[in-house]
Symmetry: C2
Subunit: 190 residues, 2 copies
DNA sequence: ACTGATTTTAGTACCAACTACTAAATGAGG
DNA sequence: CCTCATTTAGTAGTTGGTACTAAAATCAGT
């Protein structure tokens, strides 16, 4: 139970609280075998907020994450659109979109961006994907900015044919040919 | 500022706290134009925990949600697998997977299930989707149980050809032909 | 209008987990 | 031994409550 020096203790304290933000000063005092006051002094010096504030931070952060996830109804941000003609979207690959081990984007997000764009470019209340021919040309990695471009080739008889190309740094990573069904009845998309 | 009756107030209280768990009794008292004691009585009757407990729940629960999201590396639960041959997975359509307005599953989740299954069935450290031909036969709706079956047609020269069929209640909703690249180097999938 | 029950307020004591502050005790180095 | 840094102790005050008692207000039925 050798006590740490101030420096050491504060370093480890930071780590510990990072690992588990739910530790009270009391427990931390036990862990480091010092008084509560010392822990409080440490937190003050390191400007680590108190337990409740930490918990609240965790809670609000996670709430934000959930919100941003439900925003993913349309994957990617539409940056230019000419209805029934063509559209452009940007999708930034974040932690949630990649495989942990190799940081390669999961294919379905790339697909989702393209698919969402197809739905968006069609100016009708109902738009469903009927079929698609897709090709993954190269991998997208964490933090890549994927630009997707959809071009409507033709639209008639409630069917639209759309070509999508997705690029990272100008290099093609994905290409897809989408056949969509649309209708002015119904209320939404798919 | 007509005051609600007890029943009404408690119903709305529940909703309010569900929407925003960060409301103190004090603020709730203001909102409903009643005393703090009344709010506390209400919470007691409805067994709604106090603010701090609520926040803590959000913090811990949402951490779990994030974890379950990373579990979605494989979308759907694999229920049977014969490596390099065939596999079966179940994917239950939940709130997060559908368009709010019409409760139709977003296509990319259906695609993701199929794609993940292809990755899983290949018993190699690296498996990437090269291309796919897919067809959405009919819509999947909220709470549907989608059963996906992948059959490996052939594997050679680091390329696998896989057919996937997804069904709800025995009816085909999705069919896809996947061409995968695999390798025993690298460490993961895509 | 009166009564009895229901609902709402008020008020007190207590709790956890603190902050902010003062002050005393303990170390460690020169 | 003296001194400065570090640690500990202790007090008062805060937030957002619980648990409890009791009074006041409101409502419902006769």
């Amino acid at each position: 139970m050798a006590k740490y020096k101030k420096n050491e203790r504060q370093e480890i304290l930071l780590e510990r609280i990072n690992e588990d933000p739910f530790l009270t000063d009391e427990k931390l005092a036990e862990i480091f075998n010092v008084s509560i006051q010392t822990i409080r002094l440490d937190r003050l010096e390191l400007s680590i907020p108190e337990l409740r504030a930490r918990i609240k931070n965790v809670a609000t952060e996670e709430v934000d994450k959930i919100k941003s996830l439900s925003l993913q109804e349309v994957t990617g941000e539409i940056i230019d659109i000419e209805l029934n003609s063509q559209a452009l979207s940007l999708f930034i690959i974040e932690e949630g979109h990649v495989f942990e081990k190799n940081e390669i984007a999961r294919g379905h997000f790339i697909f989702a961006q393209a698919n969402s764009l197809c739905v968006a470019v069609i100016n009708e209340p109902l738009a469903l994907t009927k079929s698609a021919d897709i090709e993954f040309k190269r991998q997208a990695k964490l933090h890549d900015k994927v630009i997707s471009k959809a071009v409507v080739n033709d639209m008639d008889n409630n069917n639209a044919s759309i070509t999508v190309e997705s690029k990272v740094d100008g290099r093609l990573i994905f290409k897809g040919q989408f056949e969509m069904y649309y209708s002015n009845e119904g209320d939404n998309n798919g």
